[in-house]
Amino acid sequence: MEEIYSGLLRALELIAARDPQVVEITIRSFFISLSSAFLAGIICIPLGGIIEFRQFWGKRALINLIQTFYSLPTVTVGLLVFLLISRSGPLGGLNLLFSPSGMIFGQAILVSPIMIGLTITALAGVSTQIRDTAKSLGATEMQIIITVIKEARVAVMAAVLLGFGRALSEVGVAMMIGGNIRGYTRVLTTSIALETSMGNLELSMALGIILISISLAINLLLNRFQGR
């Protein structure tokens, strides 16, 4: 118990002193995960709209499948993306492995199911009257989707922020695709794994506290949007 207490104190000291290594890793984590959430967002929100508004065979099964993938194990996604972007893989020529861009790509794939699924739920919550009104005014399908997304913007924003949270806190993709390279692809979660295995528990705890603080900030932001 005392170890946890002293570790906590030391962790707060490290944060207060703005240890350059800690600051650098935090900023990198933030940017990589934010980019992946953004990338996933611009693809998944329209995709969610299309799935919600079109009627097609197997729609229910597709939505079930997407929801199953909410809890896709991060290491499985890591492995899949590794095989894709490794030099010997189909996308090897892009030179993405062991780079921040590769991590953004991998995390975007990881958070896509959550974003598509939550977008569908968000749009389903919008009254069908709005859809019908837009249609009767002669809107095209894309215009209808945009109108409804605007109407559900708070819930859609929540989907993006949740995706960001999942990207920020995952370790599987970051480790397997980024490789935990110091000063390049080392992020909060991979540092915690490394520092713990090296026995630097205090530094690990400091990084853990930062991670939790960011999650807390995201939640507060989310609540503000939802007007609570």
Partner: protein, 306 residues
């Protein structure tokens, strides 16, 4: 509300653009796959800083066991390897995946265990000692345990070799009872487990020394040719993988075997641990069991595609 939403979206977009811009300003990078022992002890951090500055490049170090490091090499995902498992290194070269072996440093493995040596193996050679641990462990697995890396690393490969020397089939050993535990983790984590369980384990000397402060385990058997641990650098063959940065890989290997690199290796750890963690390869070619090409300075390997 509407304004807030727009602002937020704008901030998000700006941040992402900034982020991709930061990624675009990149110098030349050299990707190195290596074993956990060189990374976790901090040696590669020191080498990276000097090498980056001298050549104005960025050395990207990906660490894992020798098994996964060689995999990265075979897939063409890295430019250069520093590993420690002679058998797999020779295969890597023979398969045309690497240019040549270049011995850069050595030290020894330690068989570490509880201070009171419950299996009573002190003074034996390493393979005899493992046999002794197995014998006692089968009788009283609560008191005598062995923790294996179990992760295909160079250290794990050496452990298998020692079992073979002791006259056992490895697949019979690792299923012979609760005294044998496979950790499936890096050296540091494995040492921590062995310490918690007060068990024996095989560790490279440098990781053991770096972790010693947190451990009550002591070296039971040290030294001896069975425990010699040679680190080897190999550039990935550009004929197999045209995208690798072979010239820079050779520069890196030459830096490691240069007087400056060898001094760095030979002195690393003296300040912190009272004695160096690694011995320089310079002048110890025969002791390491390396041949003349494997000790040539600079390396004779050529990147020219034939």
């Amino acid at each position: 509300m509407d304004r807030n939403f727009l602002k937020m979206a704008l901030v998000l977009m700006t941040l992402s653009v900034l982020c991709s811009a930061a990624g675009a300003v990149e110098g030349e990078r050299l990707k190195l796959a290596t074993t956990t022992s060189l990374q976790d002890t901090g040696l590669l951090d020191v080498i990276k800083d000097k090498f980056d500055e001298k050549y104005n490049v960025s050395l990207d170090v990906v660490s894992g066991g020798t098994g996964i490091a060689i995999q990265y090499g075979e897939r063409g995902d890295v430019d250069v390897l520093v590993v420690h498992d002679k058998e797999r290194e020779l295969k890597f070269i023979k398969d045309g995946q690497g240019l040549e072996r270049r011995c850069i440093a050595y030290n020894y493995f330690y068989l570490v265990g509880p201070k009171d040596d419950p299996a009573g193996v002190k003074g034996m050679n390493a393979s005899q000692a493992l046999a002794g641990i197995m014998e006692k462990g089968k009788i009283d697995p609560a008191k005598v345990m062995f923790i294996s890396r179990g992760d295909n690393s160079g250290t794990h490969a050496r452990e298998k070799l020692l079992w073979k020397k002791a006259g056992y089939n490895y697949s019979a050993v690792n299923s012979s009872g609760p005294w044998y535990i496979e950790a499936g983790q890096g050296m540091g984590a494995t040492l921590n487990i062995a310490n918690e369980k007060q068990a024996y384990t095989l560790s490279d000397m440098s990781t053991f020394m770096a972790y010693q402060g947190n451990l009550t385990l002591v070296p039971i058997i040290e030294g001896g040719s069975e425990l010699l641990n040679v680190y080897v650098a190999m550039a990935v063959n550009p004929k197999k993988h045209p995208n690798v940065n072979c010239e820079l890989a050779n520069e890196f290997i030459n830096y490691l075997v240069s007087a400056e690199g060898q001094d760095l290796i030979a002195s690393y750890g003296t300040e912190k641990f009272g004695k160096p963690l690694f011995s320089a390869a310079r002048g110890n070619c025969e002791l390491m069991g390396c041949n003349a090409t494997e000790c040539a300075v600079p390396t004779s390997a050529s990147c020219a595609a034939a």
